[in-house]
């Protein structure tokens, strides 16, 4: 290998090591350079809190719509964090839910998923006491309504 090429490759290797060391030192992430905490935080509390979206059907009953097929292009974790940040940091929970609802209904009408028809979405904070085998995963101890979307306009409610 030629000298200049050697310098370039060695520079690249030093850069990769240096940036990762820096990210670890400041415990931050500047994608694609990250410190990879990967579950590093300790979990010993016997409680779990999740932010979850429920849809309201035409008859007023609720349906869980957090599964990835319903909320594309988001995934469960990304949407929960996004809604949490929009609600608490930017006071835009309603606007965020309106956006998710419009996309949900549009994709449902285009038959991209087979979820129920919805007229609005609600964001809840659910608290579960941990039970063996997560037996109470569908029955949280505490259910706190944080935000509610506007009702979907009549014109958009095409069956």
């Amino acid at each position: 290998m030629r000298g200049r090429r050697l310098v370039l490759v060695n520079g690249l290797l030093a850069f990769l090591i240096g940036v990762h060391a820096y990210e670890n030192a400041i415990q931050a992430g500047h994608w694609p350079f990250c410190s990879y905490p990967m579950y590093a935080e300790m979990e010993t509390e016997r409680v779990v809190t999740v932010f979850r979206v429920f849809g309201v059907r035409h008859d007023g009953s609720e349906a869980a719509v957090h599964k990835n097929e319903f909320i594309h292009p988001f995934d469960q974790a990304r949407l929960a964090d996004g809604l949490e940040n929009a609600h608490f940091d930017r006071s835009s929970g309603v606007e965020a839910l309106n956006d998710v609802l419009e996309r949900y209904e549009r994709r449902r009408l285009e038959r991209e998923h087979d979820g129920p028809a919805l007229v609005r979405l609600r964001l809840y904070r659910l608290t579960h006491q941990l039970e063996p085998l997560a037996g109470n995963a569908d029955t949280p101890e505490k259910r706190e309504l944080l935000a509610e979307s506007d009702v979907l306009a009549q014109a958009e409610r095409l069956e």
């Binding site: 290998m1 990762h20 590093a40 990304r78 941990l130």
Partner: protein
């Protein structure tokens, strides 16, 4: 002392090698990444509301916008085509540059909305390494179409450092993960209810994907088993860089890490196929190809 170290460094990265292993690794890496993202679409991100917009550093500093749905679809098609041509080794250098540039944009785009996942960061970095490497000198259409009559490429350090750079990247990633656990919580991360609690919490679907099995909450009933699992996790992650320098460790840590990544998917939910795919660089594919051809050749010799 310094001289000896410098020589060891040079030998580790730049000892001459034939281009075959790098060529085969290139074909497999781009091919598998193409398969993984074949049905992926990014166009929906164009109409996600700005209330979700929390730009990552790369997008913020370079003021990279979210393009329209049509442009995102076009980029997606070009990216997949570049992965295919890079896998085939057709216009390899150009394909690798396009795959890296568009890949960084498309893979980075979702991380601007709500949460930054880490599962694809390694792919972005490997794309950058391969873009700078001479990966098309073997097992490529370039060699077949444009290299006729030319002598076979001489063994060179050019064919060794890219594979080792991917080893380095994986070592940095997984060692960081192990280091973060020990730095934040020390041995309490292993010898406490931490792992049992984590496994049980994921039974409540708190991750990006639902677990593929109910084994996590079941396992959580056995704290000693969970602590053992936590110990294995920390050891495999923190000691992963040993695979850089020890042949024996290469038989232990990369396969064990793949096992852990699959375990996370089964027990907790999050998916890391990108990390598993990157592990292909630990395999000497030139030796695999030689072994296969040695087995096949006698069969096709006429009786």
């Amino acid at each position: 002392m310094m001289r000896a170290l410098r020589e060891r460094w040079h030998r580790f990265w730049f000892d001459a090698e034939a281009p075959d292993n790098l060529g085969l690794s290139r074909a497999l890496f781009y091919g598998l990444i193409l398969l993984l993202y074949l049905n992926e679409s990014w166009s929906e991100w164009s109409d996600v509301s700005v209330v979700f917009w929390e730009p990552i550093t790369m997008f913020k500093w370079l003021r990279i916008p979210v393009f329209s749905g049509g442009v995102l679809t076009l980029l997606s098609v070009v990216w997949k085509a570049s992965l295919l041509t890079a896998a085939l080794g057709l216009f390899t250098r150009g394909s690798a540059v396009v795959a890296c540039a568009i890949g960084w944009y498309l893979l980075g785009l979702p991380h601007n909305f709500g949460k930054t996942h880490h599962f694809d960061a390694l792919v972005a970095l490997v794309l950058a390494v391969l873009m700078l490497a001479r990966t098309g000198d073997a097992y490529s259409l370039d060699r077949r179409l444009f290299g006729r009559g030319r002598p076979a490429p001489e063994p060179s350090g050019e064919y060794r450092w890219p594979v080792r750079a991917t080893w380095l990247l994986m070592s940095l990633v997984f060692c960081s993960a192990g280091f973060a656990k020990l730095r934040n919580e020390g041995l309490a991360w292993v010898f406490s209810d931490n792992m049992a609690t984590k496994l049980l919490q994921h039974g409540y679907n708190v991750a990006s994907h639902e677990p593929l099995s109910d084994i996590g909450p079941w396992l959580a009933q056995y704290p000693a088993l969970c602590s053992l699992l936590a110990l294995v996790t920390v050891v495999v992650e923190a000691a992963y860089p040993l695979a850089l320098v020890s042949r024996r460790a290469r038989w232990i840590f990369p396969p064990a890490m793949c096992g852990l990544l699959i375990g996370i998917r089964l027990f907790m939910g999050p998916t890391f196929p990108q990390f598993v795919i990157c592990h292909l660089f630990w395999v000497r594919w030139d030796r695999v190809a030689a072994a296969i051809s040695a087995r096949v050749r006698p069969r096709i010799v006429p009786a």
